[in-house]
């Protein structure tokens, strides 16, 4: 069969994948009371919406990089970035960071989507049909590529376009091979690591030791997301290092730099933009060309590998049963709300997408806490950093809260057949958000206290903000629950239901940040006054939003 036939089949398979990604029938969701054709149409539209959101973020990254390239003359001349940094090397540094961010963002997106792709079961359906092996491989590859089509196309088109507008069309075009390699590596990494984590995490047995191993793997899962922060955070250090290398005579450091991915791809556009003289570093053309050749060959091999592997990975059971000893029967019933909280944590421990949402605020808190400790700023600055970190933890917990609601889609119809009051579910979810905030804040606290010992201010700040975090969660879950009861469908996952989850976080974030702003202004009259005003603000918010979470409309 031809590529045309493979594309036609992939269209059918992708429609099913979209349906499962949005409505999750295989996970136990109920069909909405609408005509089937309308449901299918809606699912395709929502998947498209999510792709558009991701593509907009990627395009914005390209615009930001282009703006930096446009302003490079002024930035470098003022020594704003790093001393002794030649213009061309600065350009190459900007493009290196951009390519790295694109890889990290696409990789992270792929990791979020891969469990849905594997759970959808679209490829096993095709296996028994009389379709030859080659076509099946093509179909599988095409379905996987279609998950990324718009975001990948955005990278391949928007980056050359904006870079071209900033520093010239030939420079923009010269970046295309690097972008191609970046997109392919991101997709291959998502497939490779996603599969590994699905096996190691989702298929792991229950029990204490296994839980620890699972969470350890899940911390690794967060790496791509953290690398996005890391590339941005480490950018100044990268430019400083580039400046040092440029100041030296030809060295091993420079050779390694020219050979390193993705710097080698960033060199050519920069040389085109600034001219060989303006590049500021003797260009080792042979090293650059050889490196680009190797990376492009690797990318071509990765494309073939993906077309070979997607089928075998997608058609095989995601996880295999492992024979184990007879379990000791130990059941510890809890209150319903606590049972919801425990269930969510257990599900998150085997679902990387949710684990990511739990781990990110906590790891972020650890990173900021460690930064405060290592950088050893003055006492006032450390206090400011610590309180800022607590605020970040509050905002992240509030921002990710709505996504925890999506856990309810698991066995949604079965869950609704249980005598579980809506209030218990909301209480369990609000408790999860509050727990996340408290754990993150406690970590910041313990690390910052090593540098600045002002426990009273810290503890009071954390405690004063807690009602605001709870208020925000009450509002968010209250809105989501009412919508779910009305529409018969919860937000499904972070990727597919992103637009609604994002909308509902806006009032939530406002609630979470308002007491901090109040503290900022009121603390001119003294820290105690600031904290009192903050606590009063937060409690007032809670009084207003608690009825939304637990009052009429929830049962």
């Amino acid at each position: 069969m031809s590529w045309r036939e493979a594309f036609r089949l992939s269209d059918v398979a992708f429609a099913e994948l979209s349906l499962q990604a949005i409505y999750a029938f295989r996970q136990g969701n109920l069909p909405p009371p609408e005509a089937a054709a309308r449901v299918v149409r809606k699912s395709r539209t929502r998947v498209l919406q999510s792709k558009v959101i991701i593509s907009v973020v990627l395009a914005l990254l390209a615009v930001a990089a282009a703006a930096l390239l446009r302003l490079s003359g002024r930035l470098v001349a003022n020594g704003f970035v790093a001393p002794n940094l030649p213009l061309g090397v600065f350009d190459a540094g900007v493009l290196t960071v951009l390519l790295s961010l694109d890889i990290a963002f696409l990789w992270w997106t792929g990791l979020q989507m891969l469990p849905t792709f594997l759970a959808s079961g679209v490829l096993p359906v095709l296996e028994p049909l009389p379709i030859d092996d080659r076509t099946l491989r093509r179909v599988a590859g095409l379905v996987y590529l279609r998950l990324f089509d718009l975001p990948a196309l955005t990278v391949l088109v928007s980056v050359p376009l904006f870079v071209g507008l900033a520093v010239g069309p030939w420079a923009g075009l010269a970046l295309v091979p690097g972008l191609f390699a970046a997109v392919v590596f991101a997709l291959a990494l998502a497939l490779l690591t996603g599969r590994f984590f699905v096996r190691k995490v989702q298929g792991a047995r229950g029990g204490g030791g296994s839980t620890v191993v699972r969470w350890a793997y899940l911390v690794l899962w967060v790496v791509p997301a953290f690398s996005m922060f890391a590339f941005v955070t480490a950018a100044p250090a990268l430019f400083a290092a580039l400046g040092r290398i440029a100041a030296q005579d030809p060295s091993w450091g420079a050779s390694l730099l020219f050979a390193a991915f993705p710097f080698s791809f960033a060199v050519v556009p920069s040389v085109i933009a600034q001219g060989p003289a303006g590049f500021g570093l003797p260009t080792e053309a042979a090293v650059v060309v050889a490196a680009m050749g190797v990376y492009l060959a690797l990318a071509a091999w990765a494309v073939l590998w993906m077309f070979e592997s997607v089928r075998s990975i997608g058609a095989a059971p995601a996880v295999l049963p492992a024979a184990g000893p007879a379990a000791r029967i130990h059941i510890a019933p809890r209150t319903p709300a606590f049972a919801v909280l425990t269930k969510d944590l257990r599900i998150a421990s085997r679902t990387p997408g949710y684990a990511f949402l739990l781990l990110l605020p906590i790891l972020d808190a650890i990173a900021i806490g460690l930064w405060t400790y290592v950088s050893s700023p003055g006492s006032a600055a450390a206090l400011g950093l610590g309180l800022g970190a607590v605020t970040t933890a509050a905002l992240l917990a509030t921002f990710f809260g709505p996504a925890f609601f999506a856990i309810e889609v698991n066995a949604y119809s079965y869950g609704r057949s249980l005598p579980l009051a809506d209030r218990s579910i909301v209480l369990g979810k609000v408790a999860l958000v509050a727990l996340l905030y408290v754990v993150a804040a406690a970590l910041v606290l313990s690390l910052t206290l090593l540098r600045v010992f002002e426990p009273l201010v810290f503890v009071a700040f954390v405690a004063a903000e807690l009602p605001a975090v709870v208020a925000a969660a009450c509002l968010e879950f209250g809105i989501l629950f009412r919508r779910a009861r009305r529409r018969g469908l919860p937000v499904v996952n972070f990727y597919s239901g992103a637009w609604y989850a994002l909308l509902v976080t806006i009032p939530g974030l406002l609630l979470a940040v308002a007491p901090v702003i109040a503290f900022h202004y009121a603390s001119y009259a003294g820290a105690a006054v600031g904290l009192a005003v903050m606590a009063a603000f937060a409690l007032a918010e809670l009084a207003v939003t608690a009825p939304i979470g637990f009052g009429r409309g929830t049962r």
Partner: protein, 266 residues
């Protein structure tokens, strides 16, 4: 508070004029039935007859367009938590929390149902042994076979010994040994005379062996209801099997013969 007729308050289940629709299409059309104490009521029907839609309305999953449902006098759509406390439900497909292990899942169910640890552990030990589930209690549900998932669902439905069991094709994926055990469990379950079971199936043999009364559902409409003996008389099927009774009452007997004829030599 609405005063209920005494008979309705003791009936495990009463359904009156139930209509369930998906858009314009009516899946269940003015269905009325009741499950009496000590009775296993079998809901029979072809694929798409409306059995699962009826059951989903009974357990509070699908809101009816018209009609009313009462579980021991309680409306699952007015006081869902109270009604659901009285029900043990096994869905048609094994929709479970895939990322939990059976033990974690049953712990969640026990918590929601406010059960005591000791009681749950004793019951779970007994059921796990009967259904040979001991080695799978700590495996993630997503790795389990359909039959094992079905067993987990059956255990979850029986864990609180509810006065009404609602089972949607519960024996579909089970092995013969488990089917035999389950039949025995169900027969004993209603022996006290206070509990009831609503049981949907399209396997006539199972219905014939287990059910005290059956309701024959065809394209959303209840065509006939009664004991097997009563239905035989009504359909004039003589000593015919339930399958023959079913085909006669749903006027499918001639349809089946025509379909077989049309297959010709295929």
């Amino acid at each position: 508070m609405v005063e209920l007729p005494a008979s309705e308050a003791v009936l495990p289940l009463s359904v009156d004029g139930l209509v369930v629709a998906y858009g314009e299409r009516r899946a269940v059309d003015h269905l009325s039935l009741s499950v009496r104490p000590g009775e296993i009521y079998g809901l029979l029907g072809s694929n798409g007859a409306g059995k699962s839609s009826t059951i989903k309305s009974v357990v509070g999953l699908l809101r009816p367009v018209e009609g009313r449902v009462r579980v021991f006098g309680t409306d699952p759509w007015l006081d869902g938590v109270a009604a659901k406390r009285q029900i043990g439900y096994v869905p048609e497909t094994s929709q479970l929390y895939e990322a939990l292990t059976p033990r974690e899942f049953l712990e969640f169910v026990a918590s929601v149902r406010h059960l005591e640890a000791r009681v749950v552990e004793d019951r779970l030990r007994a059921y796990a042994s009967a259904f040979r589930l001991e080695t799978e209690l700590e495996e993630p549900i997503m790795t389990l076979s359909n039959g094992t998932r079905q067993k987990v669902l059956l255990v979850a439905a029986l864990l609180h010994q509810p006065p009404l069991l609602v089972l949607d094709e519960p024996l579909n994926s089970l092995d013969p040994r488990s089917v035999r055990i389950m039949k025995e469990v169900l027969a004993r379950y209603v022996a006290s005379g206070t509990r009831g079971i609503l049981f949907s199936t399209h396997t006539m043999e199972v219905a014939e062996q287990l059910c005290d009364r059956v309701g024959i559902l065809d394209r959303g409409v209840l065509r006939a209801e009664g004991s097997l003996g009563a239905l035989r008389i009504r359909s004039a099927a003589g000593d015919g099997t339930l399958e023959e009774v079913f085909l006669r009452l749903t006027e499918e007997e001639e349809g089946v013969a025509a379909a077989v004829r049309s297959l010709g030599g295929v």
